[in-house]
């Protein structure tokens, strides 16, 4: 049970209050970018490359310009005149806005058509004639590193290969030593394929440049409006668009999951066109464009090894990664972390030796390496460690639950220093896994499995016990383009005791309008329903780095709590003045200060706030406002214990997820209803890559499943009835003890499902199957093993 300090009426932390944002969404009154219509607005459509790698010989716009309604066609050469044809990526690489001579991936932007209507723009797009000279693309990342591979980034002076960077963590020599003398070493190679977030709303914008005032308002689908404003200023400052002249507005966002962090060429082209023609320009991409050209996630080739004693004591792990970044490194990691937080991969287990290395390469695929509900490579790392842990259990013939329970870091061993240098803040892994085992009836399931196996039926049980790492991050280590990854909150309480609070983050469905209000309600005792939350407008919100990687609660949520506590301090002074006692004589209970021992002598927060405007103590600043920029001292480390049961049809290879129990620990819970909703959604987004989703390219670099007809997003039929619960281990360093939860289920679910499938087939000698584990893959194995 979650204990609440406030009444349901106040609705502070722990109450499952209904969401404040829902009224508009259920009545069709959400306000998304595509709903914006401005006077004189023009529409933009984009011509895209059919080839993965080609020279552009010519672009003929003559016919397109004859199409009724078409007002302009913009090419890379046009942008080059203003030096706007290239832009920086968040990883300090460079990316084309529009090409002047070469295209680097299929569906890359080649030219933009501007017209008075959506339909005219599309007609114009069809009429643009582009002549290409196709070249042989580099698609396989391993081949990209071979000495005779063609060098793709010829735009970079002196570049002689396709290698981007090398990264290491841990201790190579110590790890080699442990591996050399260990009883048991297990090893697997795996590929976590390219994925796409497929938020149901695609990306788009309305760029509205006002020539008279030299001012740009940019309405766009972005998870990080302030960071975008700074990036626009960096890209376009030299043409006079300096940061004070730019307002970025992120209205309602129809799902983000990380895919709305990057700056896509379409946004920049729309700005450039609006700047040149002085009219608002709308660009909304199609789903197919979104799937084919926007940032992907994953695409990590991982070799993982584990060394252990014969009894199953884990001694060391070793990871080697090849990261396929497409033609530019456009990941959205903190600057000093090219592999994000991959080094969390040592997992939930107590051992002290590990080594990890990664190399990144360029290929002729779309750029990215951003998110799929987890941007910082935690999913990749967790998949590797959780798969190899099961592999060890299989090797030594130990139950994977027992192996985990024997190796877990113990509750009293926190804070725990990981072999790659992280300090895990808190955790209680034993309780989590034991709870999951009890709920699902683990022992009975193992019995059932043995009976079924004897009858030739295929059933598997898979476990994943992961440690997450979120809340980036402490500014001494974490920045994006040099901007430190703090986040902010500003609270203004009006004379009548109602409040507005503004944040540098941006909800894309997470329910910030409700949860932030609850945090403030908890601290000030003002009912959550009287606290209005605003995000997403850079003109009004304090600067912040945005919402992704489960960082909003750890950073902005903390900022809200600290800002509210500043106000409570002020409230105490005012109360003391009003009650004519000293501050030490006062006691706080949610919503009021009262005199110790005389509870009838009290001032409610509403009375206090009113006094701040009408009768404030002499010498005190009037008003009741506070701002806080929160710089976390450490990251937070949520965890989870997931167990999945699958049944496999031995004739068809079809996999059915029969049950899935998820026990999450995200520290203190702000709103259990919303946390549960996040877990449900994240689980379906974890099921997806485990069994269905992957972006597939052929040797020519053609994307083979670039539409929703063949990129399989799970429906309500594939998605099982999730069973979710929690344990609560507060973060000791976080002002409200919360840790963040959005990513966890997407991180933790795929290995649980993969482990279940491998478990179902383990008696056949199967030790690993790459995700997505599709029926044909399973069927092939069953055929090989003589089962079908």
């Amino acid at each position: 049970m979650i204990k609440c300090k406030t009444s349901r009426e106040i609705g502070g932390m722990g109450h499952p209050i209904k969401r404040k944002e829902d009224d508009r969404f259920i009545q069709g009154k959400g306000h998304y970018v595509d709903d914006i219509k401005l006077p004189g607005m023009l529409y933009m459509d984009i011509v895209r490359s059919p080839f993965a790698y080609a020279k552009i010989l010519s672009i003929n716009t003559e016919e397109a310009l004859k199409v009724p309604g078409v007002v302009a066609v913009v090419t890379g050469k046009d942008l080059e005149k203003y030096n706007l044809h290239w832009m920086p990526t968040l990883m300090s690489d460079t990316q084309m806005v529009l090409p002047t001579d070469t295209v680097m991936y299929q569906s890359q932007e080649v030219a933009a058509v501007i017209a008075t209507s959506k339909y005219a723009a599309r007609d114009g797009r069809e009429a643009v004639m582009v002549e290409y000279e196709p070249m042989t693309p580099v698609i396989d990342p391993f081949k990209a590193l071979e000495p005779d591979a063609p060098v793709l980034r010829t735009d970079k002076e002196g570049k002689t290969d396709n290698h981007i960077w090398h990264w290491e963590a841990g201790d190579r020599e110590a790890t080699e030593k442990v591996f050399a003398s260990a009883d048991v070493v297990v090893k697997e190679q795996m590929h976590l394929p390219r994925l796409h977030v497929v938020s149901i709303e695609t990306c788009g914008c309305v760029a509205d440049y006002d020539k008279v005032n030299n001012h740009l308002t940019m309405y766009m689908t972005t998870q990080a409006p302030h960071a975008i404003r700074t990036v626009i200023a960096l890209v376009a400052g030299h043409v006079g668009l300096t940061e004070e002249k730019i307002r970025v507005v992120s209205p309602d966002i129809g799902g983000g999951f990380g895919g709305k962090v990057p700056v896509y060429p379409g946004y920049v082209i729309a700005i450039a066109v609006s700047f040149l023609v002085g009219k608002p320009v709308k660009w909304i991409e199609d789903r197919s464009e979104n799937l084919q050209a926007d940032s992907f996630a994953r695409d990590y080739h991982i070799t993982v090894e584990m060394a252990a004693t014969r009894e199953g004591k884990i001694l060391a792990t070793r990871f080697k990664v090849l990261a396929d970044h497409g033609y530019t490194d456009a990941a959205a990691n903190p600057s000093k972390f090219p592999t994000g937080l991959f080094s969390i991969g040592t997992g939930s287990y107590n051992y002290d030796t590990a080594f990890m290395e990664a190399d990144a390469v360029y290929t002729n695929k779309p750029p990215g390496g951003v998110a799929y509900r987890c941007s910082f490579r935690v999913t990749e790392a967790v998949h590797a460690i959780e798969r190899i842990t099961d592999r060890l259990a299989q090797e030594i013939g130990k139950d994977p639950a027992v192996l985990r329970l024997e190796n877990f870091i113990k509750k009293e061993e926190f804070p725990w220093k990981s072999p790659t240098g992280w300090e895990y803040d808190s955790g209680d892994y034993h309780t989590g896994l034991q709870k999951a085992m009890k709920v699902i009836g683990y022992d009975a399931l193992r019995k059932e499995q043995a009976e079924k196996r004897a009858r030739g039926e295929l059933m598997g049980i898979g476990i994943s016990t992961f440690t997450e790492i979120v809340g980036a991050g402490p500014s001494r280590q974490f920045d994006i383009l040099g901007i430190k990854m703090f986040d902010s909150a500003e609270i203004r309480v009006h004379p009548t005791g109602k409040a507005i609070a503004r944040f540098g983050t941006k909800s894309q469905g997470q329910g910030h309008e409700t949860t932030y209000a609850q945090i403030i309600a908890e601290e000030l005792g003002i009912p959550a329903q009287h606290i209005q939350i605003e995000e997403g407008d850079t003109d009004t919100a304090p600067y912040g780095l945005g919402t992704y990687a489960s960082r909003s609660t750890p950073t902005a949520g903390a900022a809200a709590a600290v800002a509210a506590r500043k106000l409570r301090e002020k409230a105490k002074k005012i109360a003391a003045y009003l009650l004519e006692v000293s501050e030490e004589d006062l006691e706080w209970e949610p919503g009021k200060f009262y005199v110790k021992g005389a509870p009838e002598k009290a001032k409610t927060i509403q009375e206090i706030v009113f006094a701040a405007y009408t009768n404030h103590p002499p010498g005190m600043e009037a008003g009741f406002e506070a701002t806080h920029y929160y710089d976390p001292p450490n990251l937070t480390f949520p965890s989870g214990a997931y167990i999945c049961v699958v049944d496999i049809d031995r004739e068809t290879g079809e996999i059915k997820v029969r049950r899935f129990v998820a026990i999450d620990d995200c520290g203190n819970i702000i709103n259990p209803m919303i946390v549960q909703g996040q877990v449900h959604g994240g689980l379906t987004q974890g099921l997806a890559p485990a069994l269905y989703e992957a972006l597939v390219y052929d040797e020519e670099g053609n994307i083979l499943n670039g539409t929703l007809m063949d990129y399989l997003v799970p429906t309500a039929v594939e998605s099982p009835h999730w069973e979710t619960g929690h344990t609560i281990t507060p973060s000791p360093h976080h002002p409200i003890g919360a840790k963040g939860v959005g990513e966890s289920p997407t991180v933790g679910a795929p290995p649980a499902i993969a482990n279940a499938v491998v478990d179902a087939l383990s008696h056949l000698g199967v030790t690993h199957i790459d995700i997505p584990i599709t029926p044909p893959k399973v069927w092939k194995i069953l055929k090989e093993k003589g089962v079908v």
Binding site: K118, I663, G677, H680, T684, T715
Partner: protein, 166 residues
């Protein structure tokens, strides 16, 4: 250009449209009813679902001219006389939405689902909304929301809306 007359949420509209205009564009751009969303270009997502003569259809896959003379219902018309439709209430009470982008389509699909089957099982609801994608919720609570609305429409006791944990 062709002139069409449609009744949308009880109100009659006459407009001239290009023959190729998709119904969803007509609803959003000409009638300014932006509650109906667009999430794909291949008829897969269902964000554009509306009722055409009482039947749920994906309005991105119907031409505006095909709606001539017909009745259209969109999410904007769901709350009658200022009161939320039981489905709208169900979604709010049961956290059946996160970003809200799929919600109008889900609601309109569910209207027809419950009309045909006032007491659907979880399995029937799941199959019934299989043409509508939601990327946020994992569907558990959408199912719960529709069950809640079904109970309310049948006049049964309302199910508990507090989250259930194992």
């Amino acid at each position: 250009m062709k002139e069409i007359t449609v009744t949308v949420n009880g109100e009659q509209h006459t407009a001239s449209v290009e023959a190729r205009t998709l119904l969803v564009h007509f609803i959003r751009e000409t009638l300014n009813l932006t509650g109906t969303h667009i999430g794909c270009d291949t008829s897969n997502c269902g964000a554009c679902t509306i009722l055409l003569d009482g039947k749920s259809v994906k309005s991105c896959t119907v031409l505006a001219v095909q709606a001539n003379g017909k009745q259209i219902a969109t999410v904007e018309g769901l709350a009658a006389g200022g009161e939320l439709h039981p489905l709208q209430e169900g979604f709010k009470e049961n956290h059946g939405l996160h970003c809200g982008f799929c919600t109008p389509g889900m609601l309109m699909r569910a209207v027809e689902l419950l009309e045909k089957n006032p007491n659907p099982s979880e399995e029937e609801i799941r199959w019934g909304i299989a043409g509508n994608l939601c990327r946020c919720t994992g569907y558990n609570n959408i199912v719960k929301s529709i069950q809640y609305a079904a109970a309310k429409m049948r006049g049964d006791e309302l199910p508990d809306t507090e989250p259930e944990f194992v």
